[in-house]
Amino acid sequence: MTDLVLAALFVMMIMTALAAIRLTDLFAVVIMFSIYSLLAASMFVVMDAVDVALTEAAVDAGIATILMLATLVLTDRWERPSARLRMVPLAVVCLTGAVLLYGTLDMPIFGDASSPANTHLATYYLTESPGEVGLPNVVTSVLASYRAYDTLGEVAVIFTAGVGVLALLGAARSGRGGAAPMRDNPVPRVIAKIMIPLIILFALYVQLHGDFGPGGGFQAGVIFAAAIILYAIVFGVDAAAQVIPPAGLKVMMTGGVLLFAGTGFVTMALGGAFLDYDVLVRDPLAGQHLGIVLVELGIGITVAAVVISVFLAFAGRRRAR
């Protein structure tokens, strides 16, 4: 039954991917990408990986679509047809794909209980996590406690990406945006005014509920950024840059990473290892919980600030005339 649903979703993914290749209207291609990523997120849900599905849907179907649109504004809408079929890139792509497929033949069957990862590491996490970390959501306990150093690396990568984009494009310059875009279109304005506070509240819920259900810092940061981007779309980039000034965004970007790494330094100062949350308070489980909350907060702040900065940097640009 699950295989049937997965097969149907996969067929739809292939159709969408082929359409994205064949279409020449780039707006339609962007819509195809959004549908593709939503189908991928659905496949993750059917395979019972809800945290990954939440992140994939939020990032790809939401933010990546909007960023691709912001880029598309600066270029042509219609793809220029290429003259001839290029054999060398086609051969390289086919060869790489064939090698990758050959590599997957060695992997264990999906969900195999006797694979090395499931017998040693997954069993350890599933049996020891209630005693050592005490969170119902094992994904969050693995992400924020057992492998917290990896997650610090991920946050640093996101921060570096934000810094790179800002260095290349420059922060959004306020005062050049012109009139508010949807001034004569009252329906989206009213609905956006109702929805934006609720979306921010939902982002806060996802941030703090990550211990018990799907959620966490990454998803919450992206949802918060989506709320601000909705404000920018409906009321103008200038209005959004006034609500959250780019200087404040820079402080938030660095503040999140500092919060994460700072928690590690505090644990070292209190006598434990780097990012060993047991030593934060007297009770180890409460210490783990406090450490995870602080760390996820740092992740959420950095992700939100980076996404909003990147969007404002892209959307504030004009096409060269």
Binding site: P188, I191, L198
Partner: protein
């Protein structure tokens, strides 16, 4: 089967019927403005009925509250999207589809 299960089943089947007819309309109607008629209404209604059926099945728990929250969000946003699409089409396209022009390919 209890009365609640029967009610929930009827609601969900009705919702599924609406969704299906709306999708057939989306596929066969020729122009974006006509498709908005089919999809904008039946998506909101059919999805609302399915969610009500699921909420009855879930019982008086937090889950039912979350499902009703989804219903509220969809009731707010689906008509807004339909309105925005219809407005954009009516402003952007100078020649709307007229009867007898043949269907969209």
């Amino acid at each position: 089967m209890s009365i609640l299960e029967v009610v929930s089943g009827v609601l969900m089947l009705a919702g599924a019927l609406f969704v299906l007819t709306g999708s057939v309309g989306l596929l066969r109607l020729p122009d974006a403005l006509t498709q908005v008629h089919a999809v904008g209404i039946t998506d909101t209604l059919g999805v609302g009925l399915i969610i009500l059926g699921l909420a009855i099945r879930a019982g008086p728990t937090l889950l039912a509250l979350k499902l009703l929250l989804i219903l509220a969000i969809l009731v707010l946003t689906t008509p807004t999207t339909s309105h925005a699409i219809a407005r954009a089409v009516s402003r952007y396209r100078s020649r709307p589809w007229k009867d007898g022009q043949g269907r969209a390919p």
